[in-house]
């Protein structure tokens, strides 16, 4: 590994100052499960300083405020897995983190790192977009709030500036009549980086008619997004088996309209359709 400077700020403002005025080529370190792996590939690693934010207590924890759930960026996947608030108000997020890496990775990897790393296979992102999450970024020039669905440009690229710290992730609690799910296809159970995944939320009225549907595929589209074309098929309907199959096919179609046909399409086309169907069935 190449040498670098190491800073361990104890407060958020200290961290912001370091990023604004310190070594211009510095990298934030949270759980390090992406950063340390990158660091080892010396060719890809050029940062001259590490700003370790893990000793800033205000960046840790899960809470609620009115109808919102707030997750601070240093919250580990294991903490999300054990959170009663998440279990009650966003169960699909809990399912998603349970599939991340391994116990050792979950004990260390953070929600903030997962979002900011912006890998196409980041497992917290499809559920968070389905939850209509927003994030707050902070720097010496102030704070800004962005809808998570607007945050990503393409894999590994976001609209965040390098001096900005993700300080909060928040989303409205799911309504009481919502059912949600996350399904993922990996190569093996543990330590599997998602090839394809789907997050879904479905709300129905007392008569069983769908009033709201949200479908977010992971690792399928050039950037994460909901698929309104498929969601519209469901709204106003009482879902039948056929309708859910239909919904899956629609997502496949939309995917191909974005990516065109390429070597992986033959595999992804039927697989994403089936995953969407399964995700929707899990919301029944």
């Amino acid at each position: 590994m190449r040498p670098f400077e190491y800073y361990s700020p104890r407060t958020l403002s200290e961290a912001c100052n370091l990023l604004a005025e310190g070594e211009p080529d510095s990298k934030i370190l949270a759980g390090g499960t992406d950063v340390l792996v990158e660091m080892r590939k010396s060719s890809a690693w050029s940062s001259k300083a590490i700003v370790d934010i893990t000793r800033i207590p205000s960046l840790r924890g899960i809470g609620e405020s009115g109808d919102w759930i707030i997750i601070k960026p240093l919250t580990t996947h294991t903490e999300v897995l054990h959170s009663d608030l998440v279990r009650t108000h966003a169960p699909l997020l809990q399912t998603a983190v349970s599939t991340i890496g391994s116990p050792q990775i979950r004990n260390r990897g953070t929600v903030g790192g997962n979002i900011m790393n912006a890998a196409a296979c980041a497992d917290t992102v499809p559920p968070l977009i389905a939850l209509d999450a927003e994030i707050m970024l902070k720097s010496t020039s102030g704070e800004r709030v962005i809808a998570l669905s607007e945050f990503f440009v393409k894999p590994y690229v976001t609209v965040a500036r390098r001096d900005e710290i993700l300080v909060e992730v928040r989303f409205p609690k799911l309504p009481a009549n919502a059912r949600s799910s996350f399904v993922k296809l990996g190569r093996r159970n543990a330590l599997s980086i998602a090839r394809l995944s789907v997050a879904a939320v479905v709300c129905k009225d007392e008569a069983g008619v769908v009033t709201d549907a949200r479908i977010v595929p992971g690792a399928a589209f050039p950037r994460w997004q909901r698929v309104p074309e498929a969601e519209k098929l469901l709204i106003g309907q009482k879902p039948s088996k056929e309708l859910l199959v239909e919904g899956g096919k629609k997502v496949s179609e939309v995917m191909i309209s974005f990516t065109g046909r390429r070597w992986s399409t033959e595999y992804k086309e039927p697989v994403i359709a089936v995953l969407v169907r399964r995700a929707l069935e899990a919301c029944e």
């Binding site: 190449r2 670098f4 340390l36 080892r40 590490i50 116990p103 990775i105 004990n107």
Partner: protein, 203 residues
Amino acid sequence: MEKKKREVRNESSTGMSRRNFLGTVSAGALGATIARPVPRASGQEDSGNLPQVTITINGRVHQLRVEPRWTLLYVLRDKLGLTGTKPGCERGECGSCTVLIDGVTRYSCLTLALEADGRQVTTVEGLMQGEQLGPVQRAFLEEDGFQCGYCTPGQVMSAEGLLRQKPNPTIDEIQIGMSGNLCRCGAYDHIFKSVRRAAELRK
């Protein structure tokens, strides 16, 4: 185990029985190798400008100067001689480097030594009870929870971490709890049995 080891040493001129040989190998795999002389951490190289950390490792406080790029794995093995913790993939995929940090399992290859400043680290050597194997180590020995033994210290630490959270894990919980550790010899069946046995021995 210690007894067996000494016997082996005494017998070595007359030839080593397979049983005793296995005993010696086991002890090594389970972290029972006698601690090597610990090199003085500071002042070894020109380390005056390096940041200093205080890490409690297996109950003993270590103050040392470390380069920012040193991983905890490197410091444990190459600076402190605690070679029970094994390097494997060194990218968070195999689990052979697993240690407990503040009681929770972590990959030491994905942890900078500086991140461990002020924390409690437990390695496989720290599970010894004096000269005796601790319960989790003993369970792996009793249940043949290893073949070549390379992955074993990591497996033992994952089992220890799991049992601290869940003293009576179900089979599912054992499989999930141990899922961050690969075994190239494929000893999984025996590893899972060892964890169950360890749960009994820890009571």
